[in-house]
Amino acid sequence: MNLSKNQNIIIQGITGKEAKYWVKKMINYGTEVVAGSSPGKGGHYFENVPIYDTVKEAVKNHNIDTSILFIPPKYVKIAAKEAIEAGIKQLIILADGVPVHDTMSIINFAELYKTTIFGPNTPGMVFPGHSSLGIMPCWLEHVFTKGSVAILSRSGSLGNEISYQITKSGIGIAKFIGIGGDALVGTTFEEVLIELKNDSEVEGIVIVGELGGNMEEKAAERLSEINKPIFAFIAGKTAPVGIPMGHAGALIEGSSGTASSKIDILRNNGVIMADTTDQLSKILKNNFNK
């Protein structure tokens, strides 16, 4: 897993309309986009970034840490396989609506090649004041200001809201890590938490969860190992049972996975919980030892 702010990036699907919009934003922000790929567009450039037909050709010519996939959901599996086989060690899969069996295959391939997968349905990562790897409005300073807290979020939109609250609190953000809203995602809260244990740039951690699954519960089991204050907000207290709430992963199944059960488990494991997003900024101000 690479959570460094200095990552060399390839954009798969760089010639798509949305990709172009976001790649420009990323480059303007200071992100090292070293290559792009798009079958049939090899030899061209976008914003001075060289484009290759295949990821393998890009890897021959550049040092690449992470690939960001601007690829429609049904083609993600092939694109991910291409990047994994080309030896790229970390993938950020943005698409919403990737077939879950494709995700399972991607995760299996990634295990074989020791590749880290973020997503699908993740907004990516932001390292405020330095670089942005995805589709978050990094350039808005009232949302993303540099500081000492790491945010781990399943949702992009709610991740924005929480980032804004943390910026408002004056503490600011060291890194924003998007986990993804799908039922099945490559990297979970638990794995990122462990990775952040020894991250000298991160002095506190905010978990932005929601109903469904047991990712928050699994993370709670590991909290005693983390010697940093941990805060959390969980969305979906008023959601009905048995209906996926927009995210494929936000689904209460049986009696487990409700927002209130997650809140209880996190609180019992020493997490400082915010009832509302506004409250989070106040709590951070009061509790966070700068």
Binding site: W22, P73, K74, L94, D96, G97, V98, P99, V100, H101, M104, S105, I107, N108, F109, L112, I135, M136, P137, L140, H142, V143, S153, R154, S155, G156, S157, L158, G159, N160, E161, Y164, G181, A183, L184, G186, V208, E210, G213, N214, M215, K218, A235, G236, K237, T238, A239, P240, I243, M245, G246, H247, A248, G249, A250, G254, D275, T276, T277, D278
Partner: protein, 357 residues
């Protein structure tokens, strides 16, 4: 996407798994006709997508045609967990010796499918796993390796059952995995899997869930809308933010009328989404629009919303909270075209709306 019992069993049959003789009935006369063909006692099973259907009165048995008619009529009149019964599956009643359980489902924690089985089926598997976990065998599935007969043979070697039955179970497991994989299911479950008195193995009930994003299905492009009971309309971008908006409305004393999100690719269809909401809910007291754009550009959403508001001449109070991608232009549009302030904080926007409704 959950299939009904009938649809699930049809799939099982296609893959060579035995199911009871049976047919769907839409009327009580259909039910009688079906029962005559089956001969002997029959089971009448309401085809509704509700859990614990048996306990809720959705399964009845009938010994003769008169009973079939009466009980079918009764079923067509009842609601099972709030759902109207429109179809009944009329099936032969099985002579049960033993009830087993088999399932393959997506294990979100291990990120792999998991195979579960027990010879104490017919009960709620969650309960059994709590009370008697030793009776359940399970196996994580590596999707590159898949499932072969030896997996099932090994798993069921834990139980004291006849070799012939064990062999057949292993075969059923490999077929179940084929269904799971080929139909891109998130759950295939046979509960109970019946061993009859003459040692036939028959899937008496089945539940299959298909991934709504499965590669062979058309992408769902309808708005992500869920009706709720209250009267405060909600439109936001992204699932997490929409749920949070609902939570805040409730927290401040309001009652959300719906979940509606226009995040991701849906941001280009915000007008369609708002029209849909207004058509579904014509007695809203007010509407909260909460946008915090990432991929979804708030200016493009706002442009569409203003058009709908003007076209439909909407008079109810609408509170806007807009931040994120495209926020400057979006806020200016609301000010210029609706002559309204835009809130920066969600709680302020909700509070203001609840005050004015």
């Amino acid at each position: 996407m959950r299939l009904t019992e009938y649809e699930s069993k049809k799939l099982l049959k296609e893959y060579g798994i035995k199911i009871p003789e049976g047919k769907l009935a839409k009327t009580s006369q259909d039910a009688v006709d079906n029962a005559i063909k089956i001969k002997g006692e029959v089971a009448l099973k309401a085809q509704v997508l509700a859990g614990s259907r048996g306990l809720a009165g959705g399964i009845k048995f009938a010994a003769d045609n008169q009973q079939v008619r009466e009980k079918a009529e009764e079923l067509f009149k009842t609601k099972i967990k709030g759902l109207k019964v429109e179809k009944i599956l009329v099936e032969e009643k099985l002579e049960i010796k033993e009830e087993f359980y088999l399932s393959i489902m997506l294990d979100r924690t291990k990120k792999k499918p998991v195979l579960l089985g027990t010879i104490q089926g017919g009960v709620n598997i969650e309960k059994l796993s709590k009370n008697n976990p030793d009776m359940i065998v399970q196996q994580s599935i590596n999707t590159i390796m898949g499932i072969e007969n030896y997996h099932g043979l090994f798993l069921f070697s834990k139980f004291n059952i006849k070799n012939k039955i064990r062999k057949e179970i292993a075969q059923i497991i490999t077929e179940l995995y084929k269904i799971f994989k080929e139909k891109e299911a998130t759950l295939v479950e046979i509960n109970p899997l019946i061993i009859t008195k003459d040692e036939k193995i028959i899937a008496a009930d089945a539940k299959i869930m298909i991934d709504p994003a499965a590669s062979y299905l058309k992408a769902d492009t309808s708005p992500r809308y869920i009706p709720l009971k209250g009267d405060i309309g909600i439109l936001a971008n992204g699932a997490g933010l929409t749920m949070t908006t609902m939570d805040v409305v409730k927290e401040l004393g309001g009652d959300p009328a719906n979940f509606l999100e226009v995040g991701g690719e849906f941001y280009k269809k915000a007008d369609e989404a708002l029209n849909f909401l207004l058509d579904q809910k014509n007695e809203l007291k007010g509407l909260i629009v909460n946008l915090f754009g990432a991929y979804a550009r708030t200016d493009i959403i706002t442009e569409q919303l203003i058009k709908v508001i003007n076209d439909r001449d909407i008079k109810m109070p609408i509170s806007f909270r807009i931040r994120g991608t495209g926020e400057k232009r979006a806020r200016k549009m609301i000010k210029d075209e609706l002559n309204q302030e835009v809130f920066l904080n969600l709680e302020d926007a909700v509070f203001d709306l609840l005050e004015s409704t």
